[in-house]
């Protein structure tokens, strides 16, 4: 299946990626090539096959809802590209 540049722009928006006008034709072409590759899946009958999300069909363990991590807020905040008074700083959202 091929996609159009408009399809790619829509997916890019969903993925929060900005694709420049000049890159769009090539991105679209390579995207289509990957989709053509995976379209092979349409040739196999999977009626009544249960999807597999864990290769050993293992259930995820749950743990008691108790705090186990040390409080390392300062170390974690140190990675923020911009912060103020212990909060992440972003451009103004509400006027």
């Amino acid at each position: 299946m091929s996609v159009t540049p408009q399809d790619v722009e829509k997916v890019a928006l969903l993925a929060s990626l900005a694709i420049s006008e000049s890159d769009l034709p090539e991105v679209t072409e390579r995207f289509s090539r990957v989709l053509n590759l995976v379209d092979e899946l349409n040739t196999i009958d999977t009626e009544s096959v249960t999807p597999m999300s864990n290769p050993h069909d293992m259930e995820q363990r749950l743990r008691p809802d108790i705090v186990t991590c040390e409080d390392n807020r300062e170390a974690l905040m140190a990675s923020a590209p911009a912060q103020e008074q212990g909060y992440f700083l972003v451009p103004k959202v509400i006027d």
């Binding site: 993925a15 990957v34 899946l41």
Partner: protein, 492 residues
């Protein structure tokens, strides 16, 4: 021992030298740091060197040795792939997005290797977010193959494989989502093991595709991989997918006895598409095991040709979800002067991620989007089960499955980078193993025109021991794993 012999010695030998006090961990550490300093300019295998910290922990290891309180890797230098979070040490994942990210905690693998006494020398270059098979997608530039500097080392753990092959460390870690340990091990002539999914904790490994990612060791011998695997493995409360299954001491259980071992050769892999020279090398290695008492059988993996299509839906889909966290707000790269919040998200991601990463995010987002989820993601997960069941049936007849680790030897830079599909085909023999969650190992099987080829051995779930034993026997009877690139010519 001559300097060069020290740099190419296996961990098992170095352990003995350390315990005999023939060499100190500090001397070893200095020797590897010197090798990194001398060769990294031409190889670009290491992105961060931790010289001071390494020497301090080496001195600490020497004190432990003097006191007689050693652990399984006390004083052994190692390099981690730069996908493992290391507290206080920059962890980039090969991306501009994390160019200056300094984690606040250690990955469980890092913690465990530290607890066993290993000395971390630094961090290895890799394909960006582990997406690639040539190490050409790294923001920090490509890694070169020490066997031929004009060729790729494989990927995504290409920095780890090249560093090991060039004597920068006797032990390295990698991760393998679709072949990222086994393919570079094959292309660089070292032994690399991808454990069973769930065997090793994923806590602190920067996530790519959570149902496929698995960490493992690369070393000069299967024996060293057994040592390292024992150190790395085990259930972790911090990773709910780590398996609650006892970890054997893979090293002390090593055996050269392969008498009666049934090795399956999938007809679908040994077909006309297989490069005749790769076939010759792989069959020569299998003939050695046959001489040692193993029995070769043909087996069928009838749906194996669906592995690439299945993988290139599931891995990008999981990646698109995992990489949604990079938003330019909490950590990682942020664009300059964003106009508004949307602009901040979009430009931070488009400027922070490279081309291949963005392509996979797009494909994954598409596969998960409304209207396409059933046709792509759900369908791929169904085919994943069919592929896994093929392996289950084959393992009713055999103990091990054997095939090449990669379709060829290392290829020149740029030769596959323009065509994503050609690059994806590099992992044609490895992807299905991740989909089925099985352990797989690549062990050297000789050279083609001076470049290494790997034999892949695939085991039943949680049966790393059997493939380690087969590789151990092969390395006992042959000297392919001892072949080294010409270190003296590297920097000249």
């Amino acid at each position: 021992m001559a300097e060069n012999a020290l740099l190419t010695a296996p961990v098992s030998k170095l352990k003995q030298l350390l315990l005999d006090r023939t060499v100190s961990s500090e001397e070893l550490t200095e020797a590897y740091l010197a090798q990194i300093a001398a060769e990294n300019a031409s190889l670009n295998a290491v992105v961060t060197v931790c010289a001071e910290e390494a020497l301090a922990s080496a001195r600490n290891a020497d004190a432990q040795i003097a006191r007689g309180t050693t652990r399984s890797l006390t004083g052994i230098p190692l390099l981690h792939k730069d996908i493992f979070c290391t507290e206080g040490v920059r962890t980039t994942c090969g991306s501009r997005m994390l160019e200056s990210f300094v984690p606040a905690y250690d990955a469980t693998v890092v913690t465990k290797m530290k607890a066993e006494g290993a000395v971390m020398l630094g961090k290895c270059n890799m394909d960006e977010f582990a997406m690639g098979s040539s190490n050409e997608t790294s923001f920090f530039g490509p890694v070169r193959n020490p066997w031929d500097l004009s060729c790729v080392p494989g990927g995504s753990s290409g920095g780890s494989a090249a560093a090991l092959a060039s004597g920068m460390a006797p032990l390295v870690t990698g991760t393998d989502t679709g072949g990222s340990i086994r393919q570079p091990a094959s292309l660089c002539g070292v032994t690399g093991l991808k454990p069973t999914y769930g065997r090793v904790s994923r806590l602190g490994i920067i996530a790519f595709a959570s149902s496929l990612d698995q960490a493992g060791p690369m070393a000069r011998t299967a024996e060293d991989c057994a040592l390292a695997l024992t150190a790395m493995s085990g259930i972790d409360p911090g990773d709910s997918t780590s398996a609650d299954i006892p970890v054997p001491d893979f090293h002390s259980a090593l055996s050269t006895d392969v008498n009666g071992l049934r090795i399956g050769l999938p007809r679908e892999y040994f077909n006309d598409d297989l490069d005749s020279r790769v076939r010759e090398n792989v069959m020569a290695a299998l003939a050695e095991l046959e001489r040692a008492g193993a029995i070769l059988h043909d087996v069928d993996l009838p749906h194996s040709h669906f592995a690439i299509a299945t993988y290139y839906v599931i891995a990008p889909a999981e990646a698109s979800a995992n990489l949604a966290r990079y938003d330019g707000v909490r950590f990682g790269y942020r664009c300059d002067a964003p106009a508004d919040l949307e602009d901040l998200y979009q430009r931070s991601r488009s400027e922070g991620f490279g081309e291949e990463v963005q392509r996979r995010i797009l494909v994954g987002t598409y596969a998960l989007s409304a209207g396409f989820y059933d046709a792509y993601f759900n369908k791929a997960q169904q085919v994943r089960r069919i592929i896994t069941e093929d392996f289950q049936r084959a393992f009713e007849q055999v103990d091990v499955i054997a095939c090449p680790a990669a379709p060829g030897v290392a290829f020149p830079f740029g030769s596959k980078q323009q065509d994503p599909i050609a690059m994806y085909m590099e992992d044609i023999y490895t992807l299905a193993v991740n989909l089925a969650g099985l352990p797989g190992l690549s062990t050297p099987a000789g050279l083609i025109d001076g470049m290494p080829v790997g034999l892949q051995l695939i085991g039943k779930p949680f049966d790393e021991q059997t493939i380690l034993n087969a590789a151990f026997r092969l390395q006992n009877d042959t000297d392919w794993h001892l072949a080294c690139p010409d270190l003296a010519s590297l920097s000249s």
